[in-house]
Symmetry: C2
Subunit: 232 residues, 2 copies
């Protein structure tokens, strides 16, 4: 073999897939969007949203394409997590899969898409058996979500634009899997000065109603430039 000028073609090629771990939050529960797989092997079994990488697109582009094809949504939070490549992970053929974590406010995902793709939101605590190594992917994704959510303000990606403090707390409790003290939580959040209080109240959760807030992205960006670190 001529070491100096080998042709890449002597090396094997592989299918590359992208699998999306899609988190949502509703009714106090952290959920995952899964669907029934549309092709063999494992046709009809619960699976993450996935697809194959195409020639002209980057990994990020591919994940974004798959997500928007299957949900109709653009501009959603998406982040690469991990590459899976056990030789026998897909019984049909060798596939390298790169996972992405996506955060979707549940109300933005339409019933129509849900019907069209046989998709369902399931609480992460009651996750059914998924195909291949998809359950491992979710476990790893959940760990990453916890880590990221406690060091960056991504929780807001899972809520409507306007939300209440109790909603936000309930979201963090679901993500972190533990109860939080409401006084400490509120104190901490408001002390970071990232939320804008609105005049309006949301009365859906209680008779008294809770004030709505918005996350101030610009202020956050400024703070970060000055060395600020978000923590919950």
């Amino acid at each position: 073999m001529n070491l100096a000028k080998p042709n890449y073609s002597e090396h094997k090629k592989f299918h590359v897939a992208l699998d999306c771990i899609i988190f949502g939050f509703d009714n106090g529960e952290l959920k995952l969007l899964i669907h029934k797989r549309k092709f063999e092997p494992f046709l009809g079994y619960w699976s993450l949203f996935g697809g194959f990488l195409k020639s002209g697109e980057s990994l990020d582009d591919g994940a974004r394409r798959i997500l928007s094809e299957l949900t109709g949504l653009e501009d959603i939070y998406l982040e690469q997590l991990f590459a899976y490549g056990e030789p026998d992970r897909d019984p049909a053929q060798r596939v390298i899969s790169v996972t992405y974590m996506a955060l979707i406010p549940e109300h933005r995902y339409s019933q129509e898409y849900s019907r069209r793709y046989g998709a369902m939101w399931v609480p992460v605590k009651e996750l059914p058996d998924l195909i291949m190594d998809h359950n491992d992917m979710v476990v790893k994704g959940l760990k990453r979500l916890r880590k990221i959510a406690s060091t960056q303000p991504i929780g807001f990606e899972l809520l409507p634009n306007e939300f209440t403090i109790p909603q936000l707390q309930s979201l963090y409790e679901a993500i972190l899997g533990e109860q939080l003290d409401k006084r400490n939580f509120r104190k901490k959040l408001l002390s970071m000065d990232l939320l804008v209080k609105l005049d309006e109240k949301d009365k859906s959760g209680s008779r008294k109603g809770a004030f709505l807030y918005k996350f101030d992205q610009k202020k956050y960006n400024k703070l970060v430039n000055n060395g600020f670190n978000f923590t919950i």
Copy 2:
């Protein structure tokens, strides 16, 4: 197209490469092991240690194989970092590359291998231009190293089995890129009760000599099982 039973073969395949970001520590400096690339394109240019994934092996196995081929070392710390897939990242042909971070105690890497592969330890602060997106990979790798080193006891992977507290501190200073107070550092480290003090002193660094310590992996494992969190 029959959605129910598509054949994978309708999808494109890609070369998959593994690139190793190899950190070392010597003389108070954090270093990176790079070498002159042995094939076109970019023959003779500085590059990370890399290679192509083979059919039967997992990503981890592939990274481990490449590392052991190029260094002669087994049993070294290795962890997957990130997948790179921009369509034009390799001008010759489309290649998806998965990076791994490796930690090698510098004294374990032999001159012989260094000569054989044209490899060199360079301080991360004075990194030359590397091929393609390898500089990006290193930047990302360094960030991950900082994060991991401050939450898990992996610093020891970069030192000899027996080391002194000042050595350890100097390593952490190099990784974190900041000076640390020696009293606080020592206090914190010893309070975790993970180090075993030996009777011997290392006199290479000073006339007085500093006591040698060993990291107690078993004790650490036990502590972790009880919910212990390492932090520097």
